[in-house]
């Protein structure tokens, strides 16, 4: 694998003209406009969708492009995939580019599955014999064997999307440019797509991926470009970029890794959490990460704090929390409900601190769940989901020969190893995240 640069952009800008008045789209209007202002353009307002963007993406890496709506992500993708030319600057692309800005571009409802595979493949830039060679793989991936001769207008929406993605996934370009296509389809299919894209990236090809879905970005990429209002705000490790993006979105860094009970929170509160804050007994929660802005380095100490309000003690009061990964799996479970726990005896305000000395969560996005309940009566005082989002990076745990990829594991463990040769000599080392 070469370490060359696959995509290199310099001084990239794209200007759109927004008509102050309705744009002339008929010939007489255009002529009238030419007569009024023969040197043109004075009616229009400029909008720079992208301005002076520069970056270099090495061959074989997966890079995410994130940013709020209107940040310029789509414009950048359109330039990279040659749909629209830049106004300034240039891009150098080494290798064949395949872009997937939409699932099923050019699919025709009246054509059969088979016909659409060939048509869509050709539209995406495949030669006819390439499509023929990959036909069986495409059909198998899409799971539509039985419906090949059926017009796709009779397909279920799931089948339609599967077939469309399958064609694109078998494009095998050196540089794959993908827009928010994973927003469609069911969870299982999304996993399949992510897997396929991960395969592409680990196979030495370059993937550029735009998404609003941070879990997908964090599972697929090691690096992100964060765009805001047309310029590149950040270019670096994914976790840090996502944290910065969250901060942009939330209007402040306070939100990363923090939760405040709804009756205390100002404004709309924590809209991303699907919690049932029944009695606001959990007043606040915080995940104290090793790095600022809710970024945690794998293997560093992690502290989690809760403020609890116990107006009435109960002898079987239980508190527990879970750290949940992007695929909604519970990775770590922590609890506090021993027999002599003080909140079972005395009313009052408590601060509960957990300290995990070496938190070896795998890279990705995490949230937290918290439960406060009475074991005997089964009364649930508070049940919080999706609170305190934070990111984990593998920055401290570099492996040179095998870069980390999504799905390597859910949690790392430290270990000691001993390698004994047939001659009796023993070599020792450690696995230390």
């Amino acid at each position: 694998m070469s370490s060359s640069i696959a995509v290199e952009a310099a001084g990239l800008g794209k200007r759109y003209l927004l008509a102050r008045q309705a744009r002339a789209t008929t010939l007489p209007e255009r002529l009238a406009q030419l007569v009024r202002s023969p040197f043109g353009g004075s009616d229009d307002e400029e909008l720079w969708a992208l301005r002076d963007v520069a970056f270099a993406i090495p061959t074989g890496s997966a890079v995410g492009i994130i940013g709020r709506n209107g940040a310029g992500k789509s414009t950048l993708l359109k330039i990279l995939s040659r749909i629209t030319p830049p106004t300034t600057g240039e891009v150098r692309l080494r290798g064949r580019v395949g872009s997937l800005l939409e699932v099923g571009t050019g699919f025709h409802p009246e054509l059969t599955g088979r016909e659409n595979i060939f048509l869509n493949g050709a539209i995406l830039g495949m030669r006819r014999r390439e499509i023929a060679a990959r036909f069986d793989a495409i059909v198998a991936f899409a799971e539509v064997e039985r419906f090949l001769e059926t017009p796709v207008k009779r397909y279920s929406s799931g089948m339609y999307v599967r077939l469309a993605f399958a064609v694109a996934a078998h494009l095998e370009p050196e540089i794959l440019v993908v827009d928010e296509v994973l927003a469609v389809g069911d969870a299982e299919f999304q996993r399949k797509c992510l897997g396929k894209m991960g395969e592409v990236a680990s196979g030495g090809r370059t993937v550029i991926f735009v998404s609003h879905a941070m879990p997908a970005v964090s599972a697929l990429t090691q690096r992100v470009l964060l765009l805001d209002r047309g310029s590149c705000l950040f270019d670096g490790p994914t976790a840090e970029g996502i944290a910065k993006y969250r901060a942009l979105q939330g209007g402040g860094e306070a939100r990363a890794g923090a939760y405040l009970a709804p009756d205390l929170a100002v404004g709309a509160g924590d809209s991303s959490a699907q919690h049932r804050a029944l009695h606001n007994r959990v007043r606040a929660a915080r995940v104290l990460t090793s790095d600022p802005a809710g970024v945690h380095r794998c293997g560093e100490p992690l502290r989690i704090e809760f403020e609890l309000d116990v107006p009435q003690p109960a002898s079987t009061l239980c508190f527990s929390c879970k750290l949940v990964d992007a695929e909604d799996r519970n990775i770590v479970h922590l609890w506090c409900f021993d027999a002599g726990t003080r909140f079972r005896r005395d009313a009052g305000r408590y601060t509960l601190r957990f300290e995990v000395p070496r938190a070896r969560l795998f890279q990705g996005s995490y949230t937290m769940r918290a439960f406060l309940s009475d074991r005997r009566t089964n009364a649930m005082f508070d049940e919080l989901h999706g609170i305190c989002p934070f990111e984990v990076t593998m920055d401290g745990v570099a492996r040179d020969d095998y870069p980390w990829t999504g799905g390597d594991c859910a949690y790392l463990e430290g270990a000691e190893w001993a390698l004994e040769h047939g001659d009796g000599a023993v070599q020792r080392g450690t696995v230390t995240p």
Binding site: T26, R82, V97, T105, L119, I123, G125
Partner: protein
Amino acid sequence: MAYFCIVAVPPQEYAEPPVLVIRPDSARTLGLAGDLWAFRDLLWSLADRDLRLRYRQTILGVAWVVLQPLLGALIFTFVFGVVAGLPSDGVPYFRFTFASLAGWGLFSGIVTRASGSLVQNSGLIAKVWFPRAVIPASTIPAALLDFAVALIVLLVMLVAGSAIPGLAVLLVPVWVLLLVLLALGLGLIGAALMVSYRDVQHILPVAMQLLLYASPVAYAASNIPERFRHLYFLNPVVALLEGLRSSLLGTPMPGGRDMLHAVVVTLLVLWLGAYLFRRLERRFADVI
């Protein structure tokens, strides 16, 4: 400009992968032919799609390919041959107008469909890159197929009526090529303009109707009064249709000067179409 879609080998087989540079400037006019060749598979796929869709969910299906020109010629025969009594160079009027309509259908079919093709495929233009000229050019195969079927019907008619054409029939491909190139040039202009100005959509049917009557389809060019002939032959379609008919029906050939004029105009229109298309091509996705 280097096109990166020409080679399809896995990356490790590249000694030095092709480099594509995306810049604000636009491409060369003559590159259009290379684009069409590099993307011939796509061109064929789009043509194939249009052909498949045309007769899907019709009862008579492919029979329409034969029926359409026959019905058209019947109407022309009745209106212009029987009622109006227009002269046809001494050839039976039905044969005469059938041959003319086949050539005219090839020409007007490409101009009309190519002009509307970009707007019709706007979804593709906004979401995928490929040389845009592939879309208007992909209307050619279907029009050629229609023409071929009509030609076979005509040849059957001629053989049955023992009016077997002479060696001049070998010139048919030349007339066809010129008609296709002229139509493609006009289609490129129409398509590129229609992206910004939908007026073209409304002008086009009127313009084509005007051109139909300004061309020798319902009558022979020999009926044009001598003093209007120069003006009349400014329309390149005149010489091309006269030529096609002379090859098939043995009517008089157009003069050498008229033919040369038609060839020159055809090439000029084609170049203008390609030039205009290239100039506007890169803005299509932003405007459409």
